[in-house]
C-alpha cells in the first residue's frame, strides 16, 4: 500500500505492530492527514489516546467494489500534552477528541468544540487514563447547542427512556412537530472498560471485550482475539475461524431480525414484530444448543473458540436454515406489500451519501446510503476470503433502505451459513497462546452486525494489556443521526433511531 504509507512518511516503531503498519509522525504530517481526511482521501477508522501520544487509524476505502482497502495507524507523540485538532479539518473526529481530552487530559489544539463528552463531572477523578487528579462528584451542567427562532421549543428525552433501551439523552429543538435540531448527549453507560483492561492479562481482558456491547459480543470477541493473535503472531486452527464465522453470522441474523421487527413495531405494525421475534428466539435457542450460550458470550477467545459444534448442533443449524428461509420470505413479502408501513419508512430519516462517506458510516447505515464497505470483503479475514457473498447496497438512505439492507443481509448470512456447514474442515478448535517475551502490538477490524469494530492493543512482554482500545461502529453513526432527523417530525424519531440502532454501551465504553 504505497499511497497511504507514503502519506504517513514517519518513523517505524521499535516493536512489532501487526497486521497493518504504524508510523510515528510529526506535527506537520499529522495536520496534513487531517486535511487529507477532509478531502476524502482516507476514511477515519479511529482516534484514541495513549500515554503521552495520540493514535489515528486511517484506511483507503478502495476504488471500487473489488478493490481491497489499505489501513495504517499514525501516532503523534504529545510531550507538551497537546496535539493539533483533527476535528478542525474533519468533523467526524469531534467526539473522539473530546473523549481523548476527558480520559487522557491531552488537549486538541484549535478544536472547534471543547466541551467534555464522556466526563459528566461525576467520576471523582479527572483524566482517569492519563495523569489522574481528584475532582468533585457533583456533576457539571452541559451547554447544549442553541437553535434560535420564533416558536421553537425544546424536548428533553432520557437518559431513562420509555422503552427497554440503553441510557442516553436526546435534546430536540422543534418547531411544532418538526425537528429543527437534535443534539445527543452520551456517556451515561461509561464503565471505564479501557481502564479495567489495562493491567489485566489478555485472557482476563477477553471477558471485558465480550461485554462492550452485548448484542455484538461475538463480533467484539473476534475483533479482540484477532488483535491479540496479530500481536503475538498466533495462527489459530482453520476450524476455529469457521466456527467464529458461524457464530458471527448467527449473531448478525438474530440482530437483524430483531431490528426489522422493532422498526415495524415503531411504525405501529406489531404483526411483523411478533413474527420476527419468534424467528429471533429460534436463532438464540439454536445458538444456545450449539455453543451453550444464547448470545454466545465468551465463546471466542484468543487462540480459537471454547466450544465445538457437535452432532446435535449441526443438525440444529441445518434444520434452522430452511425454517427461517420459509418464514422470512413471507415476512419480506408482507413488509413490501403493506403500504401503511411503507408510508412510514419510505423517505423518512434520510442520510445523504456525502455524509455517509465523510463519516465512514459502517454497516447498514453506510450501505443504505450507497457507501460500499464491509470489513469481511474490503479487509477480508478468514474464513470470509474463502466464502462467497454479496454486500447489499442501497442508495436511498432512508429508514426503508436501512430495513432492506438488513433483509438482504439476513439472506446473505443464511447463504454463508450454508457454505460454512458444507465446507467447515474438521480439526482442533484452539491453540495455546504463548507470550512473546517482548512488547507487541496488534489490531483488527471485524464486521459486526452494526458495522466495523476496531480493536487496537499493546501487550507487554508477559502478556499483560498495556493499552487496549475498542472503537464501536456507532462512533461514526450516532453523529449523522442528528443530521438524518432534521426536518422530520418528532414522532418519527423512534423509527429513525431504531433504523440506526446504534450502541450506547459500545460508544460510552
Amino acid at each position: 500500500m504505497p499511497s497511504l504509507i507514503k502519506a504517513l512518511a514517519g518513523t517505524a516503531l521499535p516493536h512489532a505492530h501487526h497486521p497493518w503498519p504504524r508510523r510515528i509522525v510529526d506535527v506537520e504530517t499529522w495536520s496534513a492527514l487531517g486535511g487529507q481526511l477532509a478531502e476524502g482521501r482516507w476514511t477515519l477508522a479511529g482516534l484514541w489516546g495513549d500515554a503521552g501520544a495520540v493514535h489515528m487509524a486511517l484506511y483507503d476505502i478502495g476504488r471500487d467494489e473489488t478493490d481491497r482497502s489499505e489501513m495504517a495507524v499514525a501516532t503523534l507523540p504529545c510531550p507538551t500534552g497537546q496535539f493539533p485538532s483533527i476535528a478542525r479539518h474533519h468533523a467526524p473526529a469531534h467526539r473522539l477528541e473530546r473523549t481523548i481530552s476527558d480520559l487522557f487530559g491531552l488537549e486538541p489544539v484549535s478544536a472547534p468544540d471543547n466541551r467534555p463528552w464522556l466526563d459528566h463531572g461525576r467520576w471523582c477523578v479527572r483524566h482517569p487514563l492519563g495523569t489522574p487528579t481528584e475532582s468533585s462528584d457533583q456533576g457539571s451542567p452541559y451547554a447544549f447547542l442553541t437553535a434560535e427562532g420564533e416558536g421553537l421549543h425544546q424536548i428533553a428525552v432520557g437518559p431513562v427512556h420509555a422503552g427497554i433501551i440503553e441510557p442516553g439523552h436526546f435534546r430536540f429543538t422543534a418547531n411544532g412537530e418538526t425537528v429543527v435540531r437534535l443534539e445527543e448527549r452520551f456517556g451515561y453507560a461509561h464503565k471505564g472498560v479501557e481502564s479495567l483492561m489495562a493491567g489485566a492479562s489478555f485472557e482476563r481482558a477477553a471477558h471485558f471485550a465480550a461485554r462492550i456491547s452485548g448484542d455484538s459480543t461475538v463480533a467484539y470477541s473476534i475483533s479482540y482475539s484477532r488483535a491479540v493473535e496479530a500481536a503475538l503472531g498466533i495462527e489459530v486452527p482453520v476450524r476455529a475461524h469457521w466456527l467464529r464465522a458461524l457464530m458471527a453470522e448467527l449473531e448478525r441474523i438474530a440482530n437483524h431480525l430483531g431490528d426489522i421487527g422493532s422498526v415495524c413495531n415503531d411504525a405501529a405494525f406489531a404483526l411483523m414484530h411478533a413474527h420476527t421475534g419468534v424467528l429471533r428466539e429460534h436463532v438464540l435457542r439454536q445458538s444456545n444448543n450449539c455453543f451453550g450460550h444464547r448470545l454466545m458470550m465468551d465463546k471466542v477467545v484468543p487462540g480459537g473458540v471454547t466450544a465445538d459444534l457437535d452432532r446435535s448442533g449441526e443438525d440444529g443449524v441445518r434444520a434452522l436454515l430452511p425454517m427461517i428461509r420459509k418464514a422470512f420470505s413471507q415476512l419480506v413479502e408482507l413488509y413490501d406489500e403493506t403500504s401503511s408501513l411503507q408510508d412510514r419508512t419510505v423517505g423518512t430519516g434520510t442520510l445523504s451519501h456525502t455524509l455517509a462517506l465523510q463519516y465512514g458510516c459502517g454497516g447498514y447505515v453506510g450501505r443504505a446510503s450507497g457507501r460500499s464497505f464491509d470489513a469481511r470483503r474490503n479487509l477480508a479475514y478468514p474464513p470470509y476470503d474463502a466464502l462467497r457473498f454479496d454486500v447489499p447496497l442501497f442508495n436511498e438512505g432512508d429508514v426503508n433502505a436501512r430495513v432492506w439492507v438488513r433483509i438482504r443481509e439476513v439472506e446473505q448470512s443464511l447463504g454463508l451459513i450454508d457454505q460454512i456447514m458444507a465446507e467447515m474442515p474438521p480439526g482442533e478448535i484452539s491453540v495455546a497462546v504463548a507470550q512473546a517475551k517482548e512488547t507487541r502490538e496488534g489490531m483488527a477490524l471485524v464486521e459486526g452486525f452494526r458495522g466495523d469494530i476496531l480493536c487496537w492493543l499493546r501487550l507487554d512482554p508477559t502478556g499483560i494489556i498495556e493499552r487496549c482500545h475498542l472503537r464501536d461502529p456507532s462512533w461514526f453513526q450516532w453523529p449523522v443521526l442528528e443530521a438524518a432527523i432534521e426536518g422530520n417530525i418528532v414522532a418519527d424519531f423512534p423509527l429513525c433511531n431504531k433504523s440506526f440502532n446504534c450502541s450506547y454501551s459500545g460508544h460510552d465504553l
Binding site: 427497554i164 461509561h190 413474527h275 444464547r294
Partner: protein, 177 residues
C-alpha cells in the same frame, strides 16, 4: 397479510407452558398468582425497565420476555413507559456514576408500594466492572433491592421465574413507602 393471519388462526400457539427446569415450581407460582396478585394489585404488575449502565445483553433477554414463547403479559406482567405507572423497577447493569442520579430520581418518581429487581451479575455487585472509577457498584448501592436475578445475562426463563416469585413475595412483605 391475510394468508399469514389465516395460517396463524389454524396453527397452535407457540407460547410455552412453563420453562422445563422449574416446571413444578413455576406451575405452583402460576397457580398462586391469580389469588395473590388479584388481592393486592388487581392481578397485574407494571414494570419499568432501567438500564443503569449495562452492556445491553440483559436488555436483549428482557425484550425476549415479550415474544410469543414467553408471552410475559399472560401473567399480568407488563412493561410501562413511565416510572409513575410502575410497581416494579427492573434495573440492569453496574450502576455507573453518570447514571446514579437518574436511577435515584426514577426510583423516587415511582409510587409506593414498589419493588426493585436487580437483573444480571453486574446489577448484583457491579460484576466484572466493579472497582472502576466510573462505576458505583451494584444496584443496592444506590436504591434498596428486593430481588437479585443472576446470570450474564439471565435467560428469559430465569427472569420469568424471578418475576413470578416476586409476585408471590410481594404479598408477604409489602415494602413501606
Amino acid at each position: 397479510m391475510r394468508k399469514l393471519l389465516f395460517e396463524n388462526l389454524i396453527r397452535s400457539p407457540l407460547t410455552e407452558g412453563v420453562p422445563d427446569p422449574d416446571r413444578s415450581m413455576l406451575a405452583e407460582l402460576a397457580t398462586s398468582l391469580g389469588r395473590v396478585a388479584r388481592e393486592n394489585l388487581g392481578r397485574s404488575l407494571s414494570i419499568r425497565e432501567i438500564d443503569a449502565g449495562s452492556c445491553n445483553g440483559c436488555e436483549l433477554e428482557i425484550h425476549a420476555l415479550s415474544n410469543a414463547f414467553y408471552d410475559i403479559e399472560r401473567f399480568g406482567l407488563r412493561f410501562v413507559a413511565s416510572p409513575r405507572h410502575a410497581d416494579v423497577l427492573l434495573v440492569t447493569g453496574p450502576v455507573t456514576r453518570n447514571m446514579r442520579e437518574a436511577l435515584e430520581r426514577t426510583y423516587n418518581a415511582t409510587p409506593a408500594p414498589k419493588w426493585v429487581v436487580a437483573v444480571g451479575d453486574c446489577a448484583s455487585d457491579g460484576g466484572c466492572f466493579a472497582g472502576s472509577y466510573a462505576v458505583v457498584g451494584g444496584v443496592s448501592a444506590v436504591v434498596p433491592v428486593d430481588l437479585h436475578l443472576a446470570g450474564c445475562p439471565p435467560s428469559p426463563e430465569t427472569l420469568l421465574k424471578g418475576l413470578l416469585a416476586l409476585i408471590e413475595h410481594s404479598t408477604h412483605s409489602f415494602r413501606s413507602p
